[in-house]
């Protein structure tokens, strides 16, 4: 066997003023054609470890390392110039957010070609152009000639991620670092990206995969290293680690992976009840740049029985969030109607609708802008509580705020905190508490957990579940992740390009999918 492509021993990174090192005595190696996955929650030091392979650790941090061999080169005493020669050329980086990682003002082709121009300055233009097209094709970008002349905003999330991968592999590196390469993508695109990474690995690339999601990495990684608080807790071949985790934290992470096992039986009796929310023939289109229209919704109809969960699943861009806003009457449909508890909702005038708004509430994807940054948690909840028809004296309202915090599992000590002093999971809990303050009967959750860490995800989903039981809520759960939908829905609706392509009880949709797209979704989520 040849020498390892990457070998790191005793790597520590410490930020000035921090009590503990951000990366603490980490050692690992990766051979050619092998994939090592670094798994851990955000803040566990996995990204910092990956960046140290590129010499990209923030300059104020103190790095100490025993050996650092990258792409077969010992980097001891490397100057910035030598690091630059290494990056892109022999080590590629695919970072998390393709939207911000690509220059919005440059065509895809010139972005991908830049690494070649920098690393091989004497290469003629037409050779570069050919290599760019090759890289795009290898990364699975269809019609590379056409795509290379487009700008990032003209591409979908999945294509952007592929373009980013193309720019990372254009220089034909020996080592590829993929930092959460699929976090922002839907499950089908995720599966494609993983196939692509697997193919690259086959061709002899050493792959370092960084992710917070054990469920994702298991299909690709040969070995998995679990990180927490800057240290590697355990590192073992993937099958071994998944079958028999040694560390209690690894078991916790494994449990947090949302499985497709149904969490409960279907309440057949409830399904006979009256619809809590229904919509008929919803159409919505937006003007686009060329003067035409983009149809976000094309005749969506469904109804949700009181006390049940409707799971809506679809790719990004399938019109899910538009649907959520129309159900909330935050936006008007071009045609079609929404009824809440059998009464007109979308057609009701805003003046009379306002007093009923408490009945239907929304939890959104992004907990980071869900709370007014200037307001404390107490004041945010107080505002919602004060909207009650008879809010009662001040002490009753304060007690209600405390009760709400208790319902979502938060301590009353957080009352004085502002949003930026809370974690993502805590913010999402505050957003849920605020929604509950109006005692809603319907709760719409638009990707409620996709911005959260894996371990927090399971907690929030469990919370929504128990709230549904104790308060008799009707849930509309919208997600790109079939795993989450399958986990907690009574009925499932599959959307694509603004249309409902399949719907029915969970068992029938999951076990006997009719539409090929549903079958593809299921296959993609099973393989993860």
């Amino acid at each position: 066997m040849s020498s390892p492509r990457v070998e790191i021993s005793h790597l520590s990174v410490t930020f000035p003023g921090a009590s503990a090192p951000a990366v603490n005595d980490v050692s690992f190696h990766i051979d050619a054609g092998e994939c090592l996955a670094l798994v851990g929650e955000s803040g566990s030091g996995k990204t910092l470890t990956a960046l140290s392979l590129l010499g990209l650790v923030p300059p104020e941090a103190a790095v100490s390392v025993g050996t650092r061999v990258v792409a077969g080169v010992n980097t001891r005493g490397f100057t910035e110039a030598k690091w630059r020669a290494l990056r892109g050329n022999r080590v590629g980086l695919v970072s998390q957010d393709a939207l911000v990682s690509l220059d919005p003002l440059r065509e895809i082709g010139s972005e991908v070609g830049e690494v070649l121009e920098l690393s091989r300055p004497r290469l003629p233009r037409d050779v570069i152009a050919q290599r760019v097209l090759d890289a795009l094709e290898l990364a699975g970008v269809p019609q590379p000639h056409y795509r290379s002349r487009q700008y990032p905003h003209e591409l979908s999330g999945g294509l952007r991620q592929r373009a980013l991968i193309a720019s990372a592999i254009a220089g034909q590196p020996e080592v590829l670092i993929a930092d959460e390469p699929t976090t922002a993508l839907d499950s089908i695109t995720q599966a494609h990206i993983f196939d692509l990474l697997a193919a690259l690995k086959e061709s002899g690339l050493a792959l370092l995969l960084v992710s917070h999601d054990l469920g994702l990495v298991r299909q690709l990684a040969d070995r998995i290293a679990v990180m927490r608080e800057g240290a590697i807790l355990e590192c073992a071949p993937a099958a071994e680690l998944l079958e028999a985790p040694q560390h209690s934290y690894t078991r916790e992470l494994l449990n947090a992976v949302v499985t497709r096992q149904p969490a409960r039986g279907t309440h057949a009796a409830l399904i006979e009840g009256p619809p809590a929310l229904s919509c008929l023939g919803l159409h919505r289109s937006y003007p686009d740049r060329e003067g035409g229209f983009v149809e976000a919704l094309r005749g969506v109809s469904f109804s949700v029985r009181a006390g049940t969960t409707m799971g809506i699943v679809g790719e990004s861009g399938s019109g899910k969030s538009t649907l959520a806003r129309i159900l909330m009457a935050l936006e008007k449909p071009n045609s079609g109607v929404v009824e809440l508890a059998g009464e007109p909702w979308s057609l009701a005038p805003e003046r009379s609708r306002r007093s009923r708004r408490g009945e239907i509430q929304l939890i959104e994807q992004n907990p980071y802008d869900a709370l007014d940054p200037r307001w404390s948690v107490g004041r945010i909840l107080q505002e919602a509580v004060n909207l009650d028809s008879s809010p009662g004296p001040a002490w009753v309202r304060r007690a209600r705020v405390a009760e709400l915090l208790d319902q979502v599992g938060l301590s009353t000590q957080l009352i004085g905190r502002r949003a930026h002093q809370l974690s993502g999971g805590q913010r999402q809990r505050v957003a849920i508490a605020r929604a509950l303050a109006r005692r809603p009967s319907v709760l719409i959750c638009d990707e409620p957990v996709s911005a959260l860490d894996a371990s927090v995800r399971a907690q929030i989903l469990a919370l929504l579940h128990s709230l549904q039981k104790s308060l008799g809520l009707t849930l509309v759960l919208i997600s790109h992740d079939l795993g989450i939908i399958a986990h907690s829905s009574d009925e499932v609706l599959v959307m694509r390009h603004g249309e409902v392509i399949e719907s029915g009880l969970r068992e029938s949709v999951l076990n006997h999918p009719v539409h090929p797209f549903t079958q593809e979704l299921l296959a993609a989520s099973k393989s993860l």
Partner: protein, 262 residues
């Protein structure tokens, strides 16, 4: 920064209590002492009527500062209301206000102020009005773009879906979240307003002589620049120093608020 702060404090002292800064009267004429160069008795010298230039500069602070602050406050409030309307109103209002702002933005501020004076007439009270109207478009545009950004956030959607009254949404959530950048803009805008106001009175469109006003003093001093530079130079320096002090302090606040945001 510290120096600018001290200077600003002195300027405010001169505006609020000029008698503490100078013992001389800004109006007392003395034909025997006309156009005296700076000396121990008259540190900025005297003008063509023998009035103490230092006293006139000190007493002029109050007027300039009042116009600067008053006009800026007026522009800020009006710009905020216009900007909110342009961002949140029904489509026809939104379009009309945005185009109005665009048209006003296309005129230089000073030209706009001249236009207002031409319409409402000259006079002491019309100067702050003209300066404020000229500054409104800039505030309105920032208020509009900030409102558009803030009104698309999750917490505004959440407040709307809770059933909070739209006016309460604007008052409680939108205004507090957009007012920061506007206030910072205003601290710098005060300096601009002072320059515009002095410019108008320099042209004789503001308060009339013998009011101790920096613009008038500049315009009077202009005739003696060759023989008695101090009559014109010191009021000019006063304008420059005030504007620089206010802008420096304003920039400091801006950098502070940017740190707080990031």
């Amino acid at each position: 920064m510290v120096a600018a702060g001290i200077l600003l404090a002195l300027i405010f002292l001169a505006a609020l209590a000029p008698w503490l800064v100078t013992g001389a009267s800004p109006f007392e004429t003395n034909a025997a002492l006309s156009l005296q160069p700076p000396s121990g008795a008259h540190i900025f010298g005297t003008d063509q009527s023998g009035r103490d230039v230092f006293a006139r500069v000190v007493y002029g602070t109050r007027y300039s500062l009042a116009v600067g602050l008053g006009a800026t406050a007026l522009a800020l409030v009006a710009g905020l209301i216009l900007g909110l309307g342009a961002a949140l109103g029904p489509r026809i209002v939104e379009g009309a206000l945005s185009r109005l702002i665009d048209v006003l933005m296309s005129f230089p501020e000073f030209l706009l102020a001249l236009l207002v004076i031409a319409v409402v007439g000259t006079g002491e009270a019309n100067i702050p009005l003209a300066v404020a109207l000229a500054a409104i478009p800039a505030y309105a545009r920032v208020a509009r773009s900030e409102t558009v950004v803030v009104s698309q956030t999750g917490y505004i959607r959440a407040a709307r879906s809770l059933g909070v009254h739209p006016i309460a949404v604007v008052w409680r959530h939108i205004i507090p979240n957009i007012v920061g950048p506007l206030l910072v803009m205003a601290t710098i805008g005060v300096g601009t307003a002072i320059v515009t106001a002095s410019g108008l009175s320099f042209l004789g469109l503001g308060p009339q002589p013998p009011t101790p006003e920096w613009g008038i003093m500049l315009s009077e001093g202009r005739n003696f620049l060759a023989t008695a530079w101090w009559v014109g130079v010191f009021p000019g320096l006063a304008i420059t120093a005030t504007v620089i002090a206010i802008s420096t302090v304003g920039r400091y606040f801006r950098s502070q608020s940017e740190v707080a945001l990031s």
